[in-house]
């Protein structure tokens, strides 16, 4: 036993002895980390908004849970796995952080998942898409909150093929998320009797899509599937319009689009696009109420599903701590699985053994400029996809934690 362990034991012993706090809390506070992209491609859809969302959740608890104060730390992982994992390691080892949220970008999400799993700490991913988080990379203390590639492929892929888009060509961002997204959409296309004519991988992030779009055009596929996100998707869609690809009859299917992307593209470009989302601000009264609070802190910007997911996940985590009266990773994780998730984000959510938060998803269509009445009035909800239908069935999960 080294010195710091001895000190810790002594401190814990003293705490128990004094009877001041019956609950078990390391350093007598709950420390929450929001690790996100504050400077890059995804800073709009996660970034500062995720930090504000976490602050709102902490505010709702009055800054305290089970009698101890809640502290928030934030950092920019610059979309790099090594930076993300180094920050996470430092947070867990020397700063006493108990759980990390947001974790946008799949490569960072997976890197931090490895560290969290090793340390027995909680990571709740709202930002990243890859379904690997609940398959090979699942962890007893790791959760995946807002959406995943499987649900997106299922939602958007299905709908597009059913509308007659049965031949596809993919533009894929060359990292876990893109590859995952493409593979899962291909599965959906084939199940529905469609065909995949080809695919091209592009670097992440990328600014010039001209050569990739030319390849897509010459494939003569009816649908160009965009297995990328953020500014990559925006650039690809805008450039496709400039090249006259969309006007000449080929359609774009963007598989992951956030409301901030629609906002920056403008309805002119984005209109009529089909997409799948886990949250839309103008859905009902509770979701509007949250959006209003959020917008007041963010200069009128509406929350994306990632930012709403960060609020929902931080709230659920704090509720679990309140019930478990400890910040010990595995114990809180058990409690999180036990409690149902009922808030504006998930009406009937629950956490599965593989870490998936199952909640309803929505298939929406982007409104035309004429249909849109107020700022951020962008989506028409076409269909609510029940959680159990949207997400990968537990029986198909390759997560070793799932008992077969």
């Amino acid at each position: 036993m080294n010195k710091s362990n001895l000190f810790l034991t002594a401190a814990v012993g003293l705490m128990v002895w004094s009877g001041a706090a019956q609950a078990q809390f390391t350093d007598n506070k709950v420390k929450i980390g929001v690790l996100t992209d504050l400077s890059g491609t995804y800073s709009d859809l996660a970034g500062q908004g995720s930090i504000e969302a976490a602050k709102l959740a902490i505010e709702d608890f009055g800054g305290k849970v089970a009698g101890v104060p809640i502290e928030l730390v934030t950092a920019d992982h610059q979309n790099k796995g090594d930076i993300g994992s180094a920050i996470a390691r430092k947070w867990y080892e020397s700063d006493g952080v108990d759980a990390i949220f947001d974790l946008v970008t799949s490569s960072v999400g997976i890197a931090v998942r490895e560290v969290s799993k090793e340390k027995g700490k909680i990571d709740v991913n709202s930002g990243a898409g890859t379904s690997a988080l609940t398959n090979d990379k699942c962890s007893p203390t790791g959760f995946h909150w807002a959406y995943d590639t499987y649900a997106l492929a299922n939602g958007t892929g299905n709908a597009v093929v059913k509308q007659g888009g049965d031949t596809w060509f993919f533009l894929t961002a060359d990292y876990t998320f893109g590859q995952n997204m493409q593979a899962q959409t291909e599965r959906v296309i084939k199940v529905n009797g469609g065909k995949v004519l080809g695919a091209v991988k592009h670097p992440f992030p990328n600014a010039d899509f001209s050569s990739f779009l030319m390849q897509a055009q010459s494939s003569n596929a009816k649908i160009i599937g965009l297995a990328n996100s953020g500014s990559d998707t925006i650039n690809a869609i805008k450039q496709a319009k400039e090249f006259g690809i969309t006007q000449s009859g080929q359609q774009l299917a963007a598989l992951l689009v956030f409301i901030t992307d629609v906002h920056s593209m403008g309805l002119d470009v984005a209109q009529k696009m089909l997409l799948t989302t886990g949250y839309y601000w103008d859905m009902d009264d509770p979701s509007r109420a949250f959006a209003k609070r959020f917008a007041a802190h963010m200069n009128g910007k509406m929350p994306t599903m990632v930012q709403a997911g960060v609020y929902s996940s931080v709230r659920h985590y704090l509720r679990a701590i309140e019930a478990a009266k400890t910040d010990d990773g595995p114990k809180v994780a058990d409690k999180m699985r036990e409690l149902p998730i009922v808030d504006f984000f998930a009406k009937n959510g629950h956490l599965r053994p593989d870490g998936r938060m199952v909640h309803d998803m929505y298939l929406v269509q982007v409104k035309t400029p004429q249909e849109s009445k107020v700022p951020w009035d962008y989506y028409k909800v076409l269909r609510t996809i029940p959680g159990d239908e949207a997400y990968q069935p537990l029986s198909e999960s390759t997560c070793p934690l799932v008992k077969k």
């Binding site: 400077s39 930076i83 799949s106 670097p203």
Partner: protein
Amino acid sequence: MQLSRQTLFTLALLLIGLVLPHFVYPVFLMKGLCFALFASAFDLLLGHVGLLSFGHAMFFGFAGYVTAHAAREWALSPELSILLGVLTATLLGLVTGWLAIRRQGIYFAMVTLALAQMMYFVAVEAPFTHGEDGIQGVPRGLLFGLIPLNDPLAIYYTVLAIFVLGLALIHRVVQSPFGQVLKAIRDNEPRAISLGYRVDQYKLLAFVLSAGISGLAGSVKALVFQLASLTDVHWHASGEVVLMTLLGGGGTLFGPTLGAFVVVIIQNSLAEAGSWVTIIQGAIFVLCVLAFRRGIVGTLSPWFAKIGIKV
């Protein structure tokens, strides 16, 4: 026996290295040590042969990939994984050096940069490197089947030992007759040739040594962070090592180490500032180049020399 001031100074530094992990976060120190070794290896070329390589990231990063792959996919022990990483870097160094030493100055830098960019794209595309994601969750394992590297202090002292040995090797090389010839080449290459030295062979050997030790640093870093990623093969890493060396002082024993720690401390303390890090780093670099031409240690060295310490 009377210890010389030089020995006392070295022992004092070693003592600091031994007790520091009890006060400072060990992973941070290990990052510093890995970059310090990398910068020292780089300085073997820049400070002692006068060759500015702009592609050292390929040795550093690729050795990391090989070590990570060996430890994770082939489940090799840490010492074997590191050895494989070093061998890869050495071989890469041999090929790159053989091509690059035919040119001097800016052309040498460009050839090394071009080859490093080629290796970067190999790292992006090759399946075993996992592209953007990198190789994650690398097991640290048992060193020599005995020492559990998962213990923070155990791995720290291992890294410290590797660093000290690496630095000692560089020091030995520089002090040897071979090192004297390198200096002669740096100062006046045509004269060294006229004296009958096969300059190309000396340069190549120095290049390979530098590449191998850079590889050692990269391999160790992969085990420390349990991760090998594109960041370490990117040309930014090549630029960073130049910055570290010049900041600390090229051609000195401890200069690159100090420079590496200064840069790592800046990055660490400014991590929350996001994209400002590079701007602040740039400003500090400009200041240092203007204020101390020969780097921090280079500027202080006459002062140390007065009290009989060579730094």
